[in-house]
Each structure stands twice: as structure tokens, then as C-alpha cells.
């Protein structure tokens, strides 16, 4: 293994072990278990009641309920995954430097860029694992309680995992200049801003307000975790048609902007730019 890759691999393994032993992981796990239990109960009740649903003939009540419940779960996964990503990375540079955790590693000698990349990769791997496990659990719950499955199964999970990894990268970038507390606050404000813009975009779509839609579109590409989340939502209902699709898209948890073929390449480029800025800023920083 080369002199560059070996320290990264060592630090990734170390950071993953740290992630799994930290209290935040226990808290997120407990919250997730609570969510899955309550979600299962909710799905069971919703799918039972949807059998009695009487509406227009061309509205599929089970499809509508499944898409909305799945959208709700994806929002929860996005949020919990973001909590995990933020807490794993919020003190990567300044916080760890102030606590004296970073200096012994940098002197070892590990390059600052290697530390940043390793911390991001570890957070991305942990969060991806988390998202995949919870997303799979949700699909099993939806299948078991209502016999419902999304139109696309794999893509939405991967897009959600990528969205959380983007947030981890932004959090690491913030950690260069901000204290851990300030960075945590900033990260959740950015997350909230992105998700809120997405909701406004859906409102704009519903009332045919092009300006609002355009603003939401710009924000979702400036903060591409939102665009990825929207694309993931969109894939879950990709094959729906007619009035059912219209109703799903009206709700905040059922429809999303597909993003298009350029979304993932754009996100890769976006991550590259964030990494470049983060490495340049860290290289200039006194520790």
C-alpha cells in the first residue's frame, strides 16, 4: 500500500471504530429503533384504513398511502442520517485541534488532506451503512404491512446515502473555521434551509408559481443533498400516472424533482470542489 493510501486506510478504520463506539451512535440507533416501531404501527393502521377509502375511481388509495408513507420514511432517514453525519464530522478540524486530538496525528506524519479525506470517507461509509439498513427495513415494513413497494428500490437508497455524504462534506468544510457547536448549528441550518426550499418548490409547483419553483431549484443545486433527496423521492413514484400521481406530488412527502442524468456527475464535481476548498483552507491553518 502506498504512503498516501495506508494512513488514509488506517484513519478510516479508526474513525469507523470511533463512530460505532461514540454515544451519538447509540442515540441515533435508539431513535431509529423507536422510529421503526412507531412507523410499523402507523403503516399497519394506515394500510388497514385505506381499504375503506372511497374516492374517485381513478385514484389508487393503496398506492397513494404507500408513496406518502415511504416519503415520510425517507424524510426521517434523511434527517437521522444527517444527524449522524453532522455529529461524526462537526469537530473534524477546529474542534479536534482545540482539543489536542488532531496534532499528534498530523505530526505522525499524516497529511492534513489525508486526515480530512479519511474522516469524510469514514463518515460517508458509516452513514451509507446506516441509510441502507434503515431504508431496507422501511421497505420490508411497507411490504409486510401494506404489500406496497416503491417503483424503484435501489436507486432511492443510494441517492439518500449520497445526500447524507454531501452533508458530511459540508460539515467538514464548516469545521475548519467554526467551533464544534457553531458548526453543528450551521450544518442543521443548512440542512433545514435545503429541505425548506424543497417544500417551497413543491408549493410553487402546486400553485404554478414559476418564480418559487426556480428559487427552489437553484437552492437544491447549490445544496445538492436536497436535489438528491428530491431525486430519490421522485424515483419511488416514477411509474405512477394520472390523478394518483398528481395527488402524490401535491403532498410534501410523495413527489420530488427527478434531478436528471447530470445530477450525480454534478454532485461528484461538487464534492471535488468542496474537498479542494477544504484542503486549501486546512493547509493554511495553524494548528
Amino acid at each position: 500500500m502506498s504512503d498516501y493510501v495506508r494512513p488514509v486506510a488506517v484513519l478510516v478504520a479508526w474513525a469507523i471504530r470511533e463512530s460505532l463506539r461514540r454515544r451519538v451512535f447509540v442515540i441515533v440507533t435508539l431513535l431509529t429503533v423507536a422510529f421503526v416501531v412507531l412507523y410499523s404501527i402507523g403503516c399497519s393502521a394506515a394500510f388497514r384504513q385505506v381499504n375503506d377509502f372511497v374516492g374517485p375511481d381513478n385514484v389508487d388509495g393503496r398506492e397513494f398511502a404507500g408513496a406518502t408513507l415511504n416519503g415520510l420514511a425517507m424524510f426521517a432517514i434523511m434527517f437521522l442520517g444527517s444527524v449522524l453525519a453532522a455529529f461524526l464530522t462537526l469537530s473534524t478540524v477546529r474542534g479536534d485541534a482545540e482539543n489536542g486530538l488532531l496534532q499528534p496525528l498530523v505530526v505522525r506524519p499524516v497529511g492534513r488532506a489525508q486526515v480530512l479525506f479519511a474522516r469524510w470517507l469514514a463518515a460517508a461509509l458509516v452513514c451509507t451503512g446506516y441509510v441502507v439498513i434503515v431504508y431496507t427495513t422501511v421497505l420490508i415494513v411497507l411490504r409486510a404491512t401494506g404489500g406496497w413497494s416503491p417503483d424503484r428500490v435501489v436507486g432511492p437508497g443510494l441517492l439518500l446515502a449520497l445526500a447524507v455524504s454531501v452533508l458530511a462534506a459540508l460539515c467538514i468544510l464548516g469545521s475548519i473555521g467554526l467551533t464544534a457547536t457553531a458548526n453543528g448549528i450551521a450544518t442543521f441550518m443548512v440542512l433545514g434551509g435545503g429541505l425548506f426550499a424543497g417544500l417551497l418548490g413543491q408549493v410553487g409547483h402546486g400553485i404554478q408559481n414559476r418564480g418559487l419553483e426556480q428559487a427552489a431549484h437553484i437552492v437544491s443545486w447549490a445544496l445538492p443533498f436536497e436535489a438528491l433527496y428530491q431525486a430519490a423521492l421522485s424515483l419511488t413514484t416514477a411509474d405512477q400516472v394520472g390523478l394518483t400521481r398528481f395527488l402524490v406530488q401535491l403532498g410534501p412527502l410523495g413527489g420530488g424533482d427527478p434531478g436528471g442524468a447530470w445530477l450525480v456527475p454534478y454532485v461528484v464535481g461538487y464534492l471535488f470542489v468542496v474537498a479542494t476548498v477544504a484542503m486549501a483552507a486546512t493547509a493554511r491553518r495553524d494548528l
Binding site: R6, P7, E18, G100, Q103, V107, R108, P109
Partner: protein, 256 residues
């Protein structure tokens, strides 16, 4: 300022003099605003320079969840050391912490963590050891242990830069003392050379007095004269300035 291979140098100075900044500059953690720092011929901060360095920071913390063994193994892996279990147990024994191998950091006292930090700094046998206040959290027994470790390191040919406020400690173990103030070296030399004659204290039948300006070489003549004058001489002590006197004179009372 230059450190010779195998030399144990004490770095002294008032708060804000630049001691920690100097150490961090050598480590490559801080960029020098001027001048040049080389480590065994490599520019400070370069990979080659850092590879030669072991560092214990003044403010340090290790992850609370890991054990002594896990921490040392991490640093072995990063340093590319193939010492394995033998090196880890030897280092923990060196700093008097054999029990720390399975003990979590959050179960260790601050003093234990500081000694673990010293062991961590020695991973991979660095040629230059930079210790920033390595005994600030230690009790007298722990300080004695660190002094013994430093002496052993010097015997092993390791170059050590010891940044400390504890003058007595520096005086006891260091080959050379460098006193800096506002980023400038104001005086340096071996503790013995820095100590200057301060007179001779003589205890006689008529009391104890200090003969200012006299030195060790003047003692026989002084004693002969006192005995000739009919005085009983009980004790004669040549006085020299302590490192503390030298330090206070060098920093001119600066406590900033």
C-alpha cells in the same frame, strides 16, 4: 538556535515568549512568520521532517473510548512502525503504565494520560522528541519517572527539546538551557555554565556571613585569614546563582 544530536535541551521563557509556537513550528503545525527551521536537514513541516519527530503537545487529548494499546497501535500504523506488541509493552513499561494496555483513556487520570502521551511520542523511535510541558499534570513521583525517561532517551542518542516552566526539572536533566523572550534567544548554556559565583558563605564562632564577590578559589585564603584572626570556622559554602536567578535576570521580570 541549534540542537545537537543526542542533546537534551530545556526551553524556558515567560508566558507568551513563543516556546510552544517554536515547538509547533518545528512540528509543522504552525507556519513560521520569518526565519527558517530545519529538522535533520529537511524543512520543518515536510513529511521527512515530521517522520523524524515525536511530539507531546501541551494541550492534548486522546479519544476517551480507546485503550492504551489501541492508541499506541494507531500511532504505530501511522508511523509505519513494525514494533508490534513488543514495542507497545516496552513503551508502556518505560512510562510506568503497564496496566494502561487494557485501560480506556477515560478511566485514566490526567497524569496517566500525560505519561501515555510520552509513550505515544516515542512510537517509531523518532530521532527528535518535542515535549511541551510533559510534566504539568504529574505528581512528584511521576515527574521523577519522566526525568528518568528523559535521561534514558539521551543515553539512547535521542535529541530532546523540553519546554517546561519547572526550572528545577530543567536544571536537573538538561544538557543545555535556552531562555527565550518575545521570540528571541536571550541566553543559553549548560546549567552549570549559566550558574555564576555569588560569594562565599562562612559560618564561624562569631556568626554566619557572606563574602560577596569571592569564589571557590578564594576559600583557602579566606579560611587561613579567619583562623589566623582566632576565629573557629565551622562551615564554608561557595554560593552560585541558581537557574531561577539566571532566568529572572534574563527575562527581566517579564511574566506576560
Amino acid at each position: 538556535m541549534a540542537l545537537e544530536p543526542g542533546e537534551l535541551v530545556g526551553l524556558l521563557g515567560p508566558n507568551g515568549a513563543g516556546k510552544s509556537t517554536l515547538v509547533k513550528t518545528v512540528c509543522g503545525l504552525v507556519r513560521a512568520s520569518g526565519g527558517q527551521v530545519d529538522v535533520f536537514g529537511a524543512a520543518a513541516g515536510s513529511r521527512e521532517a515530521r517522520r523524524a519527530i515525536g511530539y507531546l503537545a501541551e494541550t492534548f487529548r486522546y479519544p476517551s473510548w480507546c485503550t492504551g494499546t489501541e492508541l499506541l497501535r494507531l500511532h504505530q500504523q501511522l508511523a509505519g512502525s513494525d514494533g508490534g506488541e513488543h514495542e507497545r509493552s516496552r513503551l508502556l513499561d518505560l512510562v510506568g503504565l503497564p496496566e494502561a494496555s487494557t485501560l480506556r483513556v477515560d478511566a485514566m487520570s490526567k497524569g496517566m494520560q500525560q505519561r501515555l502521551g510520552l509513550a505515544q511520542a516515542r512510537v517509531g523511535h523518532p530521532r527528535l522528541l518535542l515535549l511541551d510541558e510533559p510534566t504539568s499534570a504529574l505528581d512528584p513521583v511521576g515527574r521523577r519517572l519522566v526525568r528518568d525517561v528523559l535521561t534514558q532517551l539521551r543515553d539512547d542518542g535521542v535529541t530532546v527539546l523540553l519546554n517546561s516552566h519547572l526550572l528545577s526539572e530543567v536544571e536537573l536533566v538538561c544538557d543545555r538551557v535556552v531562555i527565550i523572550r518575545a521570540g528571541e534567544v536571550v541566553t543559553q548554556g549548560s546549567p552549570h555554565d549559566l550558574a555564576r559565583p555569588r560569594g562565599v558563605q562562612i559560618e564561624t564562632s562569631s556568626g554566619t556571613r557572606v563574602i560577596d564577590g569571592a569564589g571557590r578559589d578564594d576559600v583557602p585564603a579566606l579560611v587561613r585569614r579567619l583562623v589566623a584572626d582566632g576565629e573557629q570556622v565551622y562551615a564554608v559554602t561557595p554560593l552560585t546563582s541558581t537557574l531561577e536567578d539566571v532566568y529572572l535576570e534574563a527575562v527581566a521580570g517579564d511574566t506576560s
